[in-house]
Amino acid sequence: MDPTPRVNSALLANFSGKTVRITGKVISLAEDSAVIEASDAGQVTIRLGPEASYADQYVEIIGKVVGDLTVQELSSVNLGDNIDMDLVEQTVQLMQGHPQLFGMDA
């Protein structure tokens, strides 16, 4: 099974229709959707899955890229309230720069 790449808002376009992993800060929460701010400060809309429960400030979502900036959630994890988003962003960039290290040679 292919690994799920970590993305930010800008990278979503590269993975249209694919499953990605994205970490973000919860900006707003509605009944079946949420808006998160990704590590590059761009906002992404999440279509909530059936068991979604966003309890903390930071969450990580695994989902399928459906629209330009929309992800259909498949699973999510709460990450607490203290995430260094800058670190996340740098990690995302590093992973993109060295795909062979992360098994993502397409």
Partner: protein, 615 residues
């Protein structure tokens, strides 16, 4: 050929003006040599001679620089040797005048004493006649105390220049007042009226101090001439007067200062003596700026640094491999903010070492792209092997125009860029300077592979980031002496509820259990067994050893679960490695000094920095 002694010289020397170097070069015969052992253990011996000109004899002291002439085998100066005094001074010691020989030429050693000299102490007052005497008469009025001297000297300077000839070991010429130039090597506390011509190699900052006796300020300069280097210090008012006068790199005449025994702990120079700049000290800029040498170095190869003692000083020349960064620390002593920078240099010997710059030199350091840098008087430290530090008397020269620097540059351009350098720091090899803590981190593989780690006389220390894999359940703790004064010795059980401590010689009804945890930790390279004591155990397990003892009794399952729960956690370990021998077997034991839970954000940032360095 037998040398002619300078008849009348002894008489003239004895009755000459005190403390003024008389510049004729008398030929005298040494009648006896006697060693005067110095009271201070570190001071060299001195030799007292009796010298004669065939007519009279008098006492003389040999300058310590010349001690070899007497102590060599065979001695160059011995009974009956004829010498020519090239430079010397006279001084009143007790109630007679003695001459102090600074430089001499050994002529020959005939078998007998020439003439039948008698002691000059009984001789009549000086008569005129020899050239030598005339010269001295001229010099006499010239050197009266303080103010009149300046004027008198100017008036007589023509006479002096004409009549008196001199040969001096340390660069010729005279100073503005006509008195001859002393070699720095010839300075000693025995005379005060000298003048030296020297270049300022280092000028320190003005330093203030405040102690029980009051406040003060001081500065110092290192003065260099052909014969040697000496430190001159000025306090309080002299700071105001002289600090701006001295400029690094310029040549000055300095006279009328005191010569004292050097305080080695404040200076990195080899000289036995140092100069105190006093109110009477005169300093004047010399016209001839080239007449004193520039900085003298005696470079030590970096691989040799291990042979130097801690706190020794040395000169090094190297290529800058890392410019370091400026960091600020607060000094424990005075709570001041102090800037520092660690620069890494490497040289032909294949070694690299960190040099610490402080204050202004740290700030004004310009990042060098593998340029050559020379450090003089750097202090050797033993932190993590060997390090160098710029002290008060140290100087630094970037890309100095000396042959060794060009040679080093040439070597680096051809070989050095690709070479791997061994470093003194207990950390991985490739010379990445910067934060000190990072250098001390080793992977477990690296620590295990390193044959020298722990095998020296002193224990080695390193840091490692690892995860606890397993904690041994048996021998997890021991019963310790509960006495309040931290005895902690293992107590032995005597009957039920009786615990005896050998050291305190007391019996207790309960023991306080303390951890002696043996655990296996691993990182991405390898794993290693570490041992930790009570505080380590407390942090990792979260329960006291006494609690664990009770738990083991009551619910062994829970006991094991608690131990397992402690595994899988990542810590920054500070480890001490020391080899211990049990009979035939020698093993390196690793003890945890300190441990900290990993701050993941910080650690990740640090990793990102490392990644960035790899480019």
């Amino acid at each position: 050929m037998s040398s002619q002694l300078s008849t009348g010289a002894v008489h003239a020397l004895t009755h000459a003006e005190e403390e003024n170097p008389i510049a004729t070069e008398p030929v005298l015969q040494v009648l006896s040599v006697k060693k005067v052992v110095s009271a201070a253990a570190s001071s060299p011996d001195r030799y007292r001679l009796v010298v004669s000109d065939g007519q009279y004899f008098m006492q003389a002291m040999l300058s310590t620089q010349l001690n070899d002439l007497v102590s060599s085998e065979p001695a160059e100066i011995q009974k009956n040797t004829i010498v020519q005094l090239l430079t010397y001074a006279t001084n009143i010691v007790g109630n007679r005048r003695i001459v102090i020989a600074l430089t001499v030429k050994v002529l020959e050693t005939p078998g007998d004493r020439i003439g039948s000299p008698v002691t000059v102490d009984n001789a009549p007052a000086p008569a005129a006649a020899a050239d030598g005497d005339v010269a001295m008469e001229d010099v006499k009025p010239a050197v009266k105390p303080a103010a009149p001297a300046a004027r008198a000297n100017n008036n007589n300077s023509n006479n002096n220049k004409g009549a008196v000839q001199k040969k001096n070991a340390g660069g010729g010429g005279r100073d503005s007042s006509g008195a001859p130039i002393y070699p720095i090597e010839g300075l000693s506390p025995y005379q005060n009226k000298w003048t030296i011509k020297a270049r300022v190699t280092v000028k320190s900052d003005i330093r203030h101090w405040s102690n029980a006796k009051g406040d003060g300020k001081l500065f110092s300069v290192n003065l260099l001439d052909d014969t040697g280097e000496i430190k001159a210090t000025g306090f309080n008012e002299e700071v105001d007067r002289l600090y701006n006068l001295f400029e690094e790199g310029k040549v000055y005449f300095v006279s009328k200062a005191r010569v004292n025994i050097a305080k080695k702990q404040f200076s990195n120079l080899a000289s036995e003596y140092e100069i105190s700049l006093s109110r009477d000290t005169e300093v004047s800029l010399c016209d001839d700026q080239d007449s004193a040498p520039q900085i003298k170095y005696s470079f030590v190869e970096l691989s040799e640094l291990a042979n130097l003692e801690k706190d020794a000083t040395c000169d090094v020349l190297g290529i800058v491999s890392d410019n370091g960064d400026i960091s600020e620390i607060t000094t424990k002593a005075t709570q001041k903010q102090l800037k520092k920078r660690e620069v890494t240099i490497c040289d032909k010997s294949g070694y690299a070492v960190r040099v610490t710059l402080w204050g202004k030199s740290a700030e004004s350091w310009e990042d060098s792209d593998h340029g050559v840098v020379a450090f003089k008087g750097a202090r050797v430290g033993d932190f993590g092997g060997r390090t160098l530090s710029m002290g008060g008397g140290s100087t630094m020269a970037i890309d100095p125009d000396i042959p060794q620097a060009h040679e080093l540059r040439g070597w680096y351009d051809t070989e050095g860029t690709t070479k791997e350098f061994s470093s003194f720091s207990t950390g991985g090899g490739s010379g990445g300077g910067g934060v000190m803590k990072k250098d001390d981190y080793r992977t477990l593989e690296d620590a295990k592979e390193d044959d020298s780690l722990g095998h020296g006389e002193k224990p080695d220390y390193f840091n490692a980031r690892a995860t606890i894999i397993l904690i041994k359940a048996d021998n997890l703790y021991y019963p310790a002496c509960p006495s309040s004064d931290k005895c902690n010795k293992k107590v032995s059980q005597e009957g039920n509820e009786q615990w005896r401590c050998e050291k305190c010689d007391r019996v207790f009804d309960r023991a306080e259990y303390r951890y002696i945890a043996s655990m296996c930790v691993g990182d991405y390279t390898n794993q290693m067994w570490l041992s930790g004591f009570n505080d380590v155990g407390l942090t990792i397990i979260g329960k006291s050893a006494d609690d664990m003892v009770a738990l083991k009794d009551e619910d062994e399952g829970e006991f094991n679960r608690v131990l397992a729960h402690a595994c899988g956690k990542m810590y920054d370990f500070s480890v001490r490695a020391k080899a211990e021998t049990y009979g035939d077997q020698t093993r390196v034991k690793y003890t945890i000094q300190r441990l900290k839970p990993v701050n993941f954000v910080e650690a990740a940032r640090s990793l990102l920095d490392d990644i960035a360095l790899w480019g």
